[in-house]
Symmetry: C2
Subunit: 201 residues, 2 copies
């Protein structure tokens, strides 16, 4: 584990977040960075910024779907907009926080499993029992995960994480911070890479 940390903020309902989640480990490995996986809820940022879910916006929404699929193809991925989109991300976030606390070595697997359930398999992971089932598929304790999604400490921890993200200026997904420097969007990963490689400019 490198002590050079790449903070990776993502929201589970974000298809661009999904694509970034599939790219970020190789990106970090190339540069000897440790990824700090930071789930957050974009709704709070939308509220503060007065913005809306991208795919709901006329003109921009249809473009985004086209762009997503094009970006995914470039990276050898497929992305589908799942049933029930936009998926409610709260249960997934809480399950992940439970996992980061109780089974931290499985947390990245859980992120991938949830994201792929939605954006590769096209299924809705918005409800806590579904998330617990996904976790069980990784060998995690299904009942404990389900209880975790209702745990008041975990609820509070998520609220704190969302507030901390917004306090750092995070407003979209994916969002990267390296050494205090913010980069928004999959389409900024090349610029971020150059920034890290060049030690800024």
């Amino acid at each position: 584990m490198s002590d050079r940390v790449l903070e990776f903020y993502f929201e589970f309902s974000s298809p661009y977040g999904y694509i970034a989640s599939e790219l970020v480990e190789a990106f970090a490995a190339e540069r000897d960075l440790t990824v700090a996986w930071k789930p957050f809820l974009i709704g709070a940022a939308f509220k503060q910024a007065g913005t809306r879910p991208l795919l709901d916006v006329p003109l921009k929404g249809p473009y985004a779907i086209h762009d997503l699929k094009r970006l995914a193809r470039l990276h050898g991925l497929t992305v589908v907009i799942p049933e029930g989109f936009p998926i409610m991300p709260v249960a997934a976030c809480r399950a992940l926080i439970w996992c980061q606390k109780h089974a931290p070595d499985r947390a990245v697997d859980l992120i991938h499993a949830i994201y792929r359930y939605g954006f590769a398999a096209g299924k809705d992971f918005g409800k806590a029992p579904v998330v617990a089932e996904i976790a069980a598929g990784l060998g995690l304790d299904q009942d404990a995960v389900l209880a975790g999604t209702q745990d008041s400490e975990i609820k509070a921890a998520l609220r704190d994480q969302v507030e901390a993200a917004i306090a750092k200026g995070v407003f979209g997904s994916p969002f990267f911070i390296f050494d205090g420097e913010p980069f928004w969007g999959v389409d900024h990963m090349e610029l971020l890479g150059r920034w890290i490689d060049d030690d800024g400019w």
Copy 2:
């Protein structure tokens, strides 16, 4: 002039459009493309999409200013947010349409001169007499340009161009279309380049 055309949609009040205007000619020359310079008014797209000027959005606005300056430095440019921002782009657009009609070989120079007056020198080009003066600095007929900004045919041509842009799905600045394929943003120019070089994917 290549018959492979890169449509470059830009709005004069857009600082990202300014940066793209400084990069697009080298980008096109590398790939033997002809740039079709397409001024439009983003306000109409904002209205249809229910979105707002980027720099006005909480969280996103401060990030955008940081990102702009970082992007400009990378390309050896400076960008300043001019007095009176957001600048009214209508007079500039009409003057450009006048120029494209009456002195087409000076149109690209006029685009650069207007953009640089705003985003390099930091001055407001929102009023028609200012635009006419900028045009006069290039040897164009100041009175004819000024009259052009009030010409009903030019006004109608601008309205048509804006409608045509929206009909093509253009909603932001800069926006590129190559062979029907849309790319939004300076940060998509690398992807656009790869798309052209690879003949799609």
